[in-house]
């Protein structure tokens, strides 16, 4: 683990007496490598190391009786503060329905997450509806219908030859008529560099004015997480991030990159394939996972 590597980097130095800057830099190299191996983006790691170095090259570490512990603490503090302090949640609109739109790359977990969120709000006694706006992927609408049926949550659909924007608008009308509290809009996966598909989302945002736009990011994403989050945020000014597949053993550095480049909060974690596998985000837990 990183803590062990930092301990090891300092272990050989204790005998020398006072610590020099070079000694601390050796330990910081271990930190840099660990962050990159945890999939934190190269540019984000570079800027983090600047902050960490400033705090580490000082009395706090160099005059400490346990410099390794101090460095570990500094790294942990840096990571936790980057993860965001707030227990971010979804604020419901005083004028229902609250419209939540899910977006992200292909296969990130949007449709499954849509159902998980729907179930989460239904358990809080809200009236929920889902809108099947993925008209591209074979049986995508069916997937949401099957999920909705199992939860006894209505799914608004108009088939796959109607535009996603028109389906969403139809869903809002139906939601208002049925006194729905929360409408979850599932969208097709798309590449952030696919201009036409990104324009479709921008148009959808303009037409339906969602209260909440959540970007679903696969926890095992590597360096690309930065570019994905940046593009989606630039195009849509997202409200939050949702990390899926956190039940795997990916360190999850993608979370740091996405949060750093967008400044938006991580709202939920997907922790499995079942409907109940949705958890609140805890910054300190994420920080220690990334540090390994």
């Amino acid at each position: 683990s990183l803590s062990e590597k930092i301990q090891h980097a300092f272990a050989g130095l204790k005998k020398k007496g006072t610590l020099g800057e070079d000694d601390v830099m050796k330990a910081l190299k271990e930190v840099q490598i660990a962050l990159l191996e945890a999939d934190v983006n190269y540019k984000v790691v570079k800027s983090m190391m600047q902050d960490i170095k400033e705090k580490a090259i000082g009395k706090r570490v160099m005059e400490s009786l346990s410099p390794a512990q101090q460095v570990i603490k500094i790294v942990n503090e840096e990571l936790t503060s980057m993860m965001g302090k707030e227990q971010a949640s979804i604020v419901l609109s005083p004028n229902p329905p609250t419209i939540i739109m899910l977006c992200g790359l292909q296969g990130a977990g949007k449709s499954t997450t849509c159902a998980k969120l729907a179930n989460h709000f239904k358990k809080e006694h809200k009236k929920v509806m889902m809108a099947a706006c993925d008209v591209y992927r074979p049986a995508a609408i069916k997937q949401l219908q099957v999920l909705g049926e199992a939860l006894d949550i209505p799914v608004f659909f108009l088939g796959d030859s109607v535009s996603p924007v028109d389906i969403a608008k139809g869903a809002i009308e139906k939601a208002k008529k049925s006194a729905v509290d929360i409408l979850l809009v599932d969208t097709a996966g798309r590449m952030h560099i696919d201009e036409q598909m990104m324009d479709e989302l921008v148009q959808m945002k303009q037409e339906i004015k969602p209260h909440e736009i959540l970007l679903v990011v696969d926890a095992m994403t590597g360096q690309d997480a930065l570019h994905v989050a940046e593009h989606f945020n630039q195009g849509l000014d997202i409200d939050g991030l949702l990390l899926s597949k956190m039940d795997g053993d990916a360190r999850g550095g993608a979370a740091i990159s996405a949060k750093a480049v967008t400044g938006k909060p991580i709202k939920f974690l997907g922790t499995g394939e079942k409907i109940g596998d949705l958890e609140a985000f805890h910054p300190e837990r994420m920080a220690s996972r990334i540090l390994g």
């Binding site: 990159l36 190269y42 999920l147 560099i193 795997g248």
Partner: protein, 278 residues
């Protein structure tokens, strides 16, 4: 990088940055750049584009120089088992492969081995209808090994050329799900000695270092004969296939470059290495 006049520290640092950002991983990137430093000195190479050409050769060697091909049986049924983590692109890649093999004159049958996820069978069924190949399926919740068995019997009876077995996405850390995939393989092996002739691991090109763990554990469970690297039409480079090829000796056989049935190409190590630096 090609703008550098001399091969100084910042040149090598920038190369390392390119490799790390392409998801080759810190260790592999540092090793490649360190080796390049030594070799450029030895060969008295002082020009950037020559150094880059040398680096590309190093990477190509790790990937395996020749174009890896599929183990297709001559005048006998070929069984292809497709595995990988959730959402990687298995079902779509199977559709693409089926389309290509059918275009090449093969009689292809598909097995809807994902009996777990909502509308998984319907998704493959839509594809099979679109492409014009038969699909063997069972009800949701059926034992996937039973579907595989069924499909194999049908493929043998119908004298099909290729049977492709789809499976549910699964994280390599889920022991019971990895046992399930082992069972599917055993059933195929028992019914047709030599099957599955190919076990392909589908890997999303945007995956980070966790891909190495995925490759290790899937390889341990069933043996992996090749990788399908999907979603290369995004901005990710899929560099994790390089340490995977180097450490586990698993070649990339296909790349996915889009969501349509034509968007599957055979992997070419030279072309791939060139795009790493484009």
């Amino acid at each position: 990088v090609s703008g550098y006049k001399k091969l100084d520290d910042s040149f090598f640092e920038e190369l390392e940055e390119i490799l790390i950002q392409a998801d080759l991983g810190v260790q592999t990137s540092m090793d490649l750049v360190e080796t390049l430093r030594i070799k450029t000195k030895e060969s008295k190479i002082e020009v950037a584009h020559e150094a880059i050409a040398m680096l590309k050769k190093q990477i190509q060697q790790m990937l395996g120089d020749d174009n890896p091909s599929m183990n297709l049986q001559k005048d006998a049924l070929t069984v292809i088992l497709v595995v990988g983590v959730n959402g990687a692109g298995k079902t779509t890649s199977i559709a693409k492969m089926a389309y290509q093999l059918k275009e090449q004159g093969n009689k292809v049958i598909l097995a809807a081995g994902d009996t777990f996820r909502a509308a998984a069978t319907e998704q493959l069924e839509k594809w099979s209808q679109d492409i014009g190949v038969s699909l063997i399926k069972q009800k949701e919740g059926a034992d996937p090994a039973a579907v595989a068995y069924d499909a194999l019997q049908s493929a043998i009876a119908k004298k099909a050329d290729v049977l492709i077995v789809d499976t549910a996405g699964r994280l390599h850390t889920k022991i019971n799900l990895m046992e399930e995939i082992k069972k599917i393989k055993r059933v195929l092996e028992r019914e047709l000695p030599g099957a599955p002739h190919e076990t392909l691991l589908v890997l999303d090109a945007s995956t980070g270092q966790n891909a190495i763990e995925q490759a290790k554990l899937f390889n341990k469970a069933t043996g992996i004969t090749g990788i399908v690297l999907t979603k290369l039409d995004g901005s990710a480079k899929g560099g994790i296939v390089i340490p995977i090829a180097d450490r586990l000796d698993i070649p990339v056989k296909w790349i996915g470059v889009g969501e349509n049935k034509e968007d599957l190409k055979p992997f070419n190590p030279k072309d791939y290495t060139d795009t790493l630096f484009s």
